[in-house]
């Protein structure tokens, strides 16, 4: 989301029909504890007790940012890691994500965006501590060195950072502190344990769901069952008769029951009698959506990339295929929720949100206050995956508090969360390719038809060429040597709010393009690994991970009876990942994934253990979607509702996962998302090896794979 976010940040922010003039607050300052502290910048403070506290503006949703950011600071500070703590920052301009230019977490940008700024924050503090020690000892700073939270001077002199805190505060802040060479790193590159683990094993960690305020009411909301629908009449007499129900409030998003707790609020919602006007989407159906998208791929679209001339090529063999992927819900373990309190002097919210900066602008309009009067308390996020970048739950909670005149915690039931839209868009892509007599590709054409996430986001616009970058990413940037290539995009809007979903367009497009490349390999009579490898001569990083994954997986070596391999490779968010999946087909046709071997090149690394876990996590997310994931519509309504009909991968289906990290001096890439895209095509390749059946539609349909 990087480039587009940057280019359109000035015309922030149109969300949920509210046109937003967006400014960030300036000069808000953090409240620190009273003890002596050294605060060289907004990002760290060092106490006289030698505790280094890193103030992190990014949201922790499991991706490990509350450990990675402190590691960046601690490395250049030469901190004693065992004394490093992390706290969540308030919303403040100082914490704007350098890639987004607003405080937000997403797009696998955290380490990429903060790699240098956070190291500089640590380096500046280190230089000030050294200067303070040198002044104390009346020596030159060059005679001092730092190690594990201590400045060492000539003749065995030493002062701890805590002892120097007061004196360091008086030193000038260096403008361009010197950063270490990667060879000097002691903390970066280490698989250190996460700082946020203890609170997550004893129930003390506070998520948005756990917020409690005095006088707070809990709201549960009845929502229009069809996107764009409206309540035309509401009889709330039975709801109000339920013990603990305090208020029923109708807002554009739905009809909310406010009560003393979740249970009476939920019962209240069930007792509401509402007549809905379903509006223009009353006939929406998945069959209709598939037809709409498929037909669009039969027409010429907007041109995203065009090299050579695909029309002029004569091929010995032509291969065509149509691929399809459904809408998907994020299904974070913690359903969406937000506690809001609209007071006369401003708004305060408590939420697991990925978008503090944008929320500040949006909520200032909801509550008619200045953006500086919107305070965002970021709680732990029980999963994000892009879903918590959306402002639907913060807007609705703020509106309810404004009307109720009290703090309101709005909680989505699991059904509300699953049926609450903001889905990964459905997509259809039509491919055609030509091979010459030797099986070498001579042309590649793709036509993608899918809704526009850019337009749906409220903070981006389609670029002048009319091609949504999220719609085509993973197809448009296909890395292989295709001398003639054309990728087109057709924007189709069935009427469902779409959104960013872990790895965004790559989540379906890499399945499409890599599976189609597998088809080309088969048509050429070549091995899927060797075929890809032969077409990556100009792409050393793709080729590097492809070869590493194949080698570590033992590509070509015998497997147990009935087990087959597939391979795929992808780049997303600046990182390269190849995966080999080992799969067998069970008697009922369900694919069983035994092992996934991944190779990742994400440039320079912060924490290899977190990298490996994120790749593994993305593999599970991708496998869950490939095996089970689909949100479907019938008569305008979402057919799924909870985990029985929108299934999750469980421990008994969990494959072994091996992650191999390429040593690299390249700039860091993202890591929360890049492990996902290659999974589905690797598994589909193995399914083809096992059954001879080419899967062109997600999720896999076991009935069609029975042998």
């Amino acid at each position: 989301m990087t480039a587009a976010f940057k280019s359109s940040r000035r015309d922030f922010l149109k969300a949920s029909g509210l046109v937003i003039g967006f400014t960030l607050p300036v000069g808000a300052r953090l409240a620190y504890a009273a003890e002596t502290q050294f605060k060289p910048n907004a990002y760290l403070r060092i106490g006289s007790d030698n505790v280094v506290t890193v103030v992190c503006g990014l949201s922790e949703m499991g991706q490990g940012v509350h450990t990675a950011i402190p590691m960046l600071v601690a490395e250049e500070l030469d901190a004693n890691w065992s004394r490093v703590r992390v706290v969540q920052a308030p919303v403040d301009e100082a914490f704007a994500n350098p890639i987004f230019h607003t405080q937000a977490t997403g797009g696998s940008t955290s380490v990429r965006g903060h790699w240098e700024p956070m190291r500089k924050a640590g380096a500046a503090a280190r230089e000030m501590l050294v200067a303070a020690a040198a002044a104390t000892w009346k020596v030159d700073a060059s005679q001092c060195r730092t190690e594990k939270g201590v400045v060492h001077g000539p003749g065995g002199k030493q002062l701890s950072y805590g002892e120097l805190a007061t004196r360091a505060s008086k030193q000038p802040v260096p403008k361009e502190p010197k950063l270490k060479d990667a060879k000097e790193f002691k903390i970066l590159g280490q698989g250190l344990r996460r700082l946020d683990t203890p609170q997550k094993v004893n129930g003390s960690g506070k998520y948005g769901m756990d917020v409690r305020l005095p006088g707070m009411l809990t709201a549960v909301m009845a929502r229009p069952p069809v996107p764009g629908g409206k309540a035309v009449s509401v009889d709330d007499s039975k709801a109000k008769a339920i013990k603990g129900v305090r208020q029923v409030i109708q807002i554009p998003q739905g009809v909310a029951v406010l009560a003393d707790g979740y249970w009476p609020a939920k019962k209240g919602v069930e007792a509401l009698e509402i007549k809905w006007d379903d509006g223009p989407n009353a006939a929406l159906s998945s069959d209709g959506i598939t037809k709409m998208l498929t037909e669009a791929t039969q027409q010429e679209g907007k041109v995203g990339r065009n090299e050579g001339n695909v029309g002029s090529v004569s091929a010995a063999k032509t291969i065509e295929a149509v691929y399809e992927a459904p809408y998907l819900a994020h299904a974070c373990m913690e359903p969406m929720n937000c506690t809001a309190w609209v007071k006369p002097d401003g708004v305060e919210i408590w939420a697991g949100t990925q978008s503090q900066g944008p929320n500040q602008g949006i909520l200032s309009h909801v509550a008619s206050v200045d953006p500086k009067q919107v305070k965002v308390n970021t709680m732990l996020l029980g999963g994000g995956f892009g879903r918590r970048f959306a402002p639907d739950f913060t807007i609705a909670a703020t509106l309810l508090s404004k009307i109720a005149g009290k703090p309101v915690k709005l909680v989505y039931s699991r059904e509300d969360d699953m049926r609450g839209y903001f889905y990964r868009p459905a997509s259809v892509t039509r491919f055609a390719a030509g091979l010459d007599a030797d099986g070498k590709p001579v042309s590649f054409t793709a036509r993608v038809a899918t809704p526009s996430i850019m337009e749906a986001s409220g903070f981006m616009k389609l670029p002048p060429n009319g091609v949504d970058e999220f719609g085509v990413e993973g197809v448009e940037d296909v890395p292989y040597d295709f001398p003639n290539l054309r990728v087109e995009y057709s924007r189709q809007e069935p009427g469902v709010q779409v959104w960013f979903w872990r790895s965004v367009g790559h989540s379906q497009n890499i399945f499409f393009s890599e599976s189609f490349v597998d088809e080309l390999a088969h048509a050429a009579g070549k091995d899927p690994f060797e075929f890809r490898r032969s077409l990556l001569s100009k792409q050393p990083r793709y080729k590097g991970v492809l070869e590493l994954a194949a080698e570590k997986a033992g590509w070509g070596k015998p497997l147990p009876q009935g087990v087959h391999r597939g391979i795929a490779v992808a780049q997303s968010f600046g990182s390269y990942v190849a995966e080999v999946a080992e799969v067998s087909i069970q008697p009922d046709g369900r694919p069983k994934v035994h092992r996934v071997v991944a190779a990742v090149d994400c440039g320079q690394t912060v924490n290899p253990q977190i990298i490996a876990r994120q790749i593994e996590s993305a593999i599970v997310y991708g496998l869950t979607a490939a095996l089970y994931g689909k949100i479907t519509f019938k008569d305008g309504k979402v057919e799924q509702s909870n985990f029985h009909d929108y299934q999750m991968l469980r421990i008994n289906e969990m494959p072994k996962v091996e992650v191999h990290i390429v040593k690299s001096t390249e700039a860091p890439g993202g890591i929360g998302e890049p492990g996902l895209p290659a999974l589905a095509p690797a598994v589909a390749g193995a399914i083809f090896a096992a059954t001879g059946k080419r899967v062109r539609k997600l999720p896999f349909e076991p009935g069609q794979l029975k042998t």
């Binding site: 997550k200 004893n202 979740y262 373990m333 996590s617 421990i651 996962v657």
Partner: protein, 153 residues
């Protein structure tokens, strides 16, 4: 008014008998370590022990807890098996987002209390009711085996 035994303490709460134990814990007793995930006993995030047995508190009415002992994640650091499981969770750095982990730990503690040396199959059957959307299953398995080793040492 209902009197409950939660983590060894008698607690009085004002709640309708049909209220799930989950919401009594979270909303009436301010014990938020037990999580709401699905409301239908499908994900295990709300797992607590009722007389030592793991139950889904989102779908168990508080009336069923009368005369029984409710044990939650908040009591695990004072529990022999719970302590070993929490230590293994930390050693293996299991959690990512962490939201499901209270429930995972409660299921794991119940498993190990009943079975000191669980096989992979035992772990599958005891833990398959607990969803982890971050995909920490391999780390959960490793941590359960570590805890089992600690407990039998």
């Amino acid at each position: 008014m209902i009197t409950l035994n939660v983590n060894g303490k008698a607690m009085k709460v004002e709640a309708d008998p049909d209220t799930p134990i989950l919401w009594v814990l979270r909303d009436s007793l301010a014990m938020t370590g037990t999580k709401f995930g699905c409301g239908m006993a499908l994900c295990g995030a709300c797992t607590v022990h009722l007389d030592g047995q793991p139950i889904r508190s989102c779908s168990t009415p508080v009336s069923q807890a009368a005369g029984k002992k409710i044990t939650t994640i908040e009591a695990m650091s004072a529990n022999h098996v719970g302590k070993a499981v929490q230590a293994a969770w930390i050693k293996n750095d299991v959690p990512q987002c962490g939201y499901c982990q209270s429930g995972q730990i409660m299921s794991a503690v119940a498993l190990l209390a009943a079975n000191k040396n669980p096989s992979d199959q035992d772990i599958d059957s005891a833990m398959a009711g607990n969803v982890c959307r971050c995909g920490t299953y391999n780390q959960i398995r490793a941590a359960i085996k570590d805890a089992a080793a600690t407990l039998s040492a």
